[in-house]
Amino acid sequence: MMHFNYIIAMLLITLGLYCLVLKRNLIKLIIGLAILTDGIHMFLISLGYRMEGIAAIVTDEMTSVPSNFAARAVDPVPQALVLTSIVINVCILALALSLSIYAYRYYGTLELEKIRRFKE
């Protein structure tokens, strides 16, 4: 069961890539982007996860026996990374959605085929 989360992470990443490559609707593309990054976050968190681990918060009880802490705590670095990444993704999704609102206002549609192509 240990590798279950990795499988799910990879499934999410594949699903996101599938959406990004094959879907032709702006909102679906953005959803694909969100799923893709969620898969990556899942993967990152799994890297630092440990069965029956404890939160990596240093309390008095923990500092008295440092080796005990190191043996039981989950790796906090991926959690920090994921938090940062989530914040970045909020910005990207917000920007993407606002631009989609504009695109909808100009073209009246979110289908990529109907949005006018750039002239060469």
Binding site: I92, L95, F118
Partner: protein, 504 residues
Amino acid sequence: MIPHAPILAIFLPLFAAFLMPIIGILSRKRGVNHAREWVAIAAVLAELVIVGSMLSEVLSGQIILYKLGNWDPPWGIALVIDGLGLFAALIVSGISALIVGYSFVSMEKDTGLDQYYTLLMLMLAGMMGVVLTGDVFNLYVFFEIMSIAAYALVAFRRNWQSIEAGLKYLIIGSLGTSFIILGVAFLYGLAGSLNIAHLAQNLPFLPATTLILPLGLFVIGLGIKIAMVPLHMWMPDAYQAAPPPVAALFSGATATVGLYAMLRVVYMLFGAFGIGAMLAGLGLVTMVLGALMALVQRDLKRLLAYSSISQIGYVLAGVGLGTTLGIQGGLFHLLNNAIYKTMLFMIAGTVVYRVGTSNMDKLGGLWKNMPVTGALFGVGALAISGVPPLNGFASKWTIYMAGVEAGQGGHWPGYAITVIALITSALTLAYFLKAFSNIFLGQRPGHLADVKESPRSMMFPIMLLGVLCVVFGILPQIGIDLVRPAQEALMNSGGYISAGLGGM
């Protein structure tokens, strides 16, 4: 070195970015004109001073290690500045200073300039962060800061073109950064560290097969960011739709930052895996296809965008050779490309400013109206095509020589690189001659009769870059001397590792 210079170089533009909305509101209340512009100019000039102050240490062969929050590497985040990083930082801060000066007049007709300067400063902070950091996740974060500002800047004018280009850039670019962070995650899982020096120390001990996946992820992710063929689809649209100063900033500074990240991550971390041949091969494809696509363009900005793609190919091919001469040539070309490509985009901006279009079918005969602009465009076009005695020739010559040298050393693809690079140069000359004659020579449409010469404040940065083109062309030794520390830094990963880990 100014004390704390490395962090100040990132902090200052960030501070200016946060300050910008407040300044905008205050200056509107008080009725002060151009307050934002002057703050932005002050910020970029101070930035240039800060980056320049690190020059003497780095030129003397030192590698600066700055520990954020005083945490020792590899646990804390460290800023590591070696010759390569400072080289890129100098290009970025120099180009940004010129761009901000150029924006003063170029953007005066636009509204929402608070946001424009905020985004410009954010982008500068992101770019400085990428080139100065010594931590691979930090690199990703700054890359995202830079990219988000870039997406918003492409869509800044909010007409149909820029929104479409911005969305395209955003989705493809985010896909690229997703690949980068997935690569970072794999590296962390494999080596348990994020510090570039620590990673470079540990990765060679891992089985090579496990590193193929992160390597591929990084190459694709960064390849999207530097618009390497076949991942370049977003670039012409973005460059065409972005406001002219932004397009100039992209082609000069952002491309440099992307290439820097490519060299730092791919070359330094995976250097032991024969990465050079792959980079050279991708570089050749990029070079040729970019030039071929540029030949058929009808829009000046689009032509310049494809030409940017082609020039990036030169840098990759030169560096991919892996020899001292090749890397010197590649990096020298990176510097030259930043100079003349920024200049050409700025000229395209002045043409758009005066005429209102960059479609070459609707232009013509502008030589009589703007002779100085025309002459400078000529200088830039000849420089980019590698005509002596301009700077493009100096760096391309170095790359040719490196190719021949590799060929004589028994690696026949070296000759191939030289031949293909020569042919591409001829193509470059062809499409720039076409652009020049379409814009400045030939029949002048009647409504262009009273077009004036470009405004002086827009001309100044262009002239400065034009002078640099000539100086580096006549005295290539200056350029080579500037590039040598960067080349030595790139080839001396041992020094980077020991310095980046605090001399451990």
